[in-house]
């Protein structure tokens, strides 16, 4: 159904001894909003720059529409880029900036003017064509960069950390606009970012990279709920990781026993690890529930887990109130701290937990993810 537009075939890029991109194979489909995500220095920008033509792969091939473009110079590739610094030409007006690509392509002046106007309308800069870049705000300069790249109707639009230089409020707004823009123009977008929120919010699919290696390629939902490795689990969102051994591993249930946790972690599905394997149980803070502890009272009942599992006692050591939610650091027996996130559902009559208070931590049998590496 969806047609592949870009293919990386075993692409490796070395700078001297440093391996920036290590044997990456990846296919991106037409119409996708694809995010390359990873910490700084993971090779994501190098991958993007190879696509734009500013770097050439040391090994492997890059195909656009089935054509090997490894030796095509950047000015002859059907891709355009929005640069991290926007790179708006400071000595040209906004309209001249946007028209630049068409001028080089010798598009007749009348058509050029019409398309420039269209492009400026598209990024909501209509009427600002005669301004100079130094009369624009950061967000407006970014729109110029977007219009300038989109006006050439590229097969693929590349975005290098496009939102990193904007303030939080504007970033949020531009996120929505980028999404709408992509739906409007229907061009494949490939965006590099180190901001996982941004990637989750925008991408139709995400590639997580670390140290030049491709870690996982998946939809944002799958990346978050079904991380393939500890790196991905830890990089996307925040997570509590418990190292342990698979004590039970059957078709419809599994148990992880961790020395860091006084109770067993019970899962209502099997794991492909095999009994006795060393695994890591990943538990997201928002998937842990806090319950009041009262001396002498029985523990809360979990309806989907056997008694003695998925339930531990702890002491609240730290609370951060974040407005829409609060995070708690809870110390459990053995000294390990577990992070718990709780939504502030009501304004004041929600159960309150004080520092030093004893609590129960509980989670559902489907909540932990078991990682094999």
């Amino acid at each position: 159904m969806s047609k592949p537009i870009i293919t990386f075939e075993n692409v490796t890029k070395r700078f001297g001894r440093m391996v920036a991109v290590d044997n990456v194979s990846l296919t991106i489909d037409e119409g996708e909003f694809f995010c390359l995500l990873g910490p700084s220095g993971c090779g994501k920008t190098t991958l993007l720059r190879m696509l734009a033509g500013f770097e050439t792969p040391t090994e492997g091939r890059i195909l656009i529409d089935g054509q090997d473009i490894s030796n095509v110079p950047p000015n002859r590739r059907p891709v355009n880029m929005v640069f991290q610094s926007y790179a708006v030409f400071p000595h040209m007006s906004v309209a001249d900036n946007v028209a630049y690509g068409l001028k080089i392509d010798r598009v007749p002046a009348a058509e050029r003017d019409r398309r420039v106007e269209e492009a400026l309308e598209l990024v909501q800069l209509g009427g600002l064509g005669s301004r100079k870049p130094d009369q624009l705000s950061g967000g407006q300069r970014q729109r110029v960069a977007l219009a300038r790249a989109l006006i050439k109707r590229p097969r693929v639009l590349l975005l290098d950390e496009p939102l990193s230089a904007l303030d939080a409020k504007l970033r949020d707004q531009m996120r929505t606009e980028l999404c709408t823009l992509q739906e409007t123009v229907g061009i494949t977008f490939i965006m590099v970012t180190h901001d996982q929120d941004e990637a989750l919010a925008l991408a139709s699919r995400c590639a997580v990279m670390n140290r030049g290696l491709l870690q996982q390629v998946a939809t944002p939902n799958d990346l978050y709920e079904f991380p393939g490795s500890r790196f991905v689990a830890d990089f996307i969102g925040s997570v509590n990781l418990f190292e342990g051994v698979l004590a039970v591993d059957e078709q419809d249930q599994a148990v992880v026993r961790s020395p860091e946790l006084p109770a067993d972690i019970y899962l209502d599905h099997g794991v492909t690890g095999g009994r006795g394997a060393t695994v890591w149980a990943a538990l997201r803070p928002e998937k842990i529930e806090l319950h009041k502890y009262t001396p002498g009272q029985p523990p809360p009942v979990l309806d989907d887990s056997p008694a003695g599992s998925n339930l531990v006692r702890g002491v609240i050591r730290h609370e951060s109130y974040l407005g829409s939610e609060s995070t708690y650091d809870v110390e459990i027996a053995g000294g390990r701290r577990v992070r718990v996130l709780r939504s502030n559902l009501t304004r004041w009559d929600q159960e309150d937990f004080a520092l030093g208070e004893e609590v129960w931590l509980g989670w559902h049998a489907c909540s932990p993810a078991v990682l094999l590496n």
Binding site: A52, G53, F54, P73, P74, N75, R76, V79, N80, M81, F83, Q84, S85, Y86, A87, V88, F89, P90, H91, Y100, G101, I104, D105, P133, D134, R141, A145, R148, A149, K152, A165
Partner: protein
């Protein structure tokens, strides 16, 4: 009378030590020039005591064929050597800015040599060079007979251009160049549309440096000029060897006025220095710059 408030902590200009200092600087800088200009109107042959106002020495200077010839020579040499220095200097700066190559450090150091080497050494070196290595043919028609001087002037002025241009290029955002390439521009087109506009203020500044250096150079020119290729400074020197007449003052005054006017025009062309000289550094955060 309202009493003036006491100077604030940072208002040094309202206290006498800095005022005195500024007055001293002003006198040392400009008093000789003003004296030279004033005495160009002095109605006296010996030009030691003020005798009265006259313009006759201007008339005399403007009718002095050999002085005019020297003046035209100087302007020609300055114009040609500035043009050549701009090209050579800008290319050297681009090479140093953009590429890594073996011997780059050596080239960088060698480029500064004409700036720091004593002029007298350069002069003698030029004399030997044009006498032994590359004898410039004698008796060529004007302006080809100025060739040796022009080459000498280019050799000491283009490093100044290179230094200025290179400093300017340090504030260039490489992503601008990549953006142009990305939008379809060839290397040449990128140079013309993106790199040259950024470089322009430094080219203007470099041109003025080169022009001024060439126009008032005496030492090196003295060693490379022949009897039929006299420049203005050399001519003035030969005139004052006999006596400092107001004629020399008049000729010098014309030169000073010309320089001031040219500089004023240049500043006007260049516009507000804050907006041209790296003012965009804050807008386009340069990346990957050492």
């Amino acid at each position: 009378m309202a009493k003036r408030s006491a100077p604030g902590p940072l208002e040094y200009l309202r206290r006498w030590p800095l005022q005195l200092w500024l007055a001293g600087v002003g006198i040392f800088l400009y008093a000789p020039l003003v004296a030279l200009m004033v005495f160009s109107f002095n109605d006296s042959r010996r030009n030691i005591v003020w005798q009265g106002f006259t313009l006759k020495y201007y008339e005399k200077a403007l009718n002095n064929a050999s002085l005019i010839e020297a003046f035209v020579n100087s302007l020609t040499i300055a114009a040609v050597s500035t043009f050549l220095s701009l090209i050579l200097g800008a290319l050297a700066a681009l090479a140093l800015w953009r590429f890594r190559f073996p011997g780059k450090a050596g080239f960088d150091g060698a480029l500064a040599l004409p700036i720091v080497a004593p002029e007298i050494c350069l002069g003698v070196a030029m004399l030997v060079f044009f006498a032994k290595v590359l004898p410039w043919p004698q008796g060529l028609p004007w302006p080809l007979n100025l060739g040796a001087i022009i080459i000498a002037h280019v050799s000491f002025s283009f490093p100044f251009v290179a230094v200025v241009v290179r400093a300017r290029m340090a504030s260039f955002n490489r992503e601008l160049e990549e953006a142009a390439r990305d939008l379809g521009a060839s290397e040449w087109r990128t140079l013309k549309d993106v790199i040259l506009p950024h470089m322009a203020p430094s080219l203007i500044a470099g041109a003025f440096l080169a022009f001024t250096l060439s126009l008032d150079d005496f030492v090196i020119t003295f060693f490379t000029s022949g009897p039929d290729t006299v420049t203005f400074p050399v001519k003035v020197y030969s005139m004052v060897r006999f006596s400092v007449t107001p004629e020399v003052n008049a000729a010098s005054t014309i030169l000073i006025v010309l320089t001031v006017v040219l500089t004023a025009i240049a500043l006007k062309v260049q516009g507000d220095p804050a907006s041209t000289a790296g003012g965009h550094a804050a807008l386009d955060r340069p990346k990957n710059r050492p």
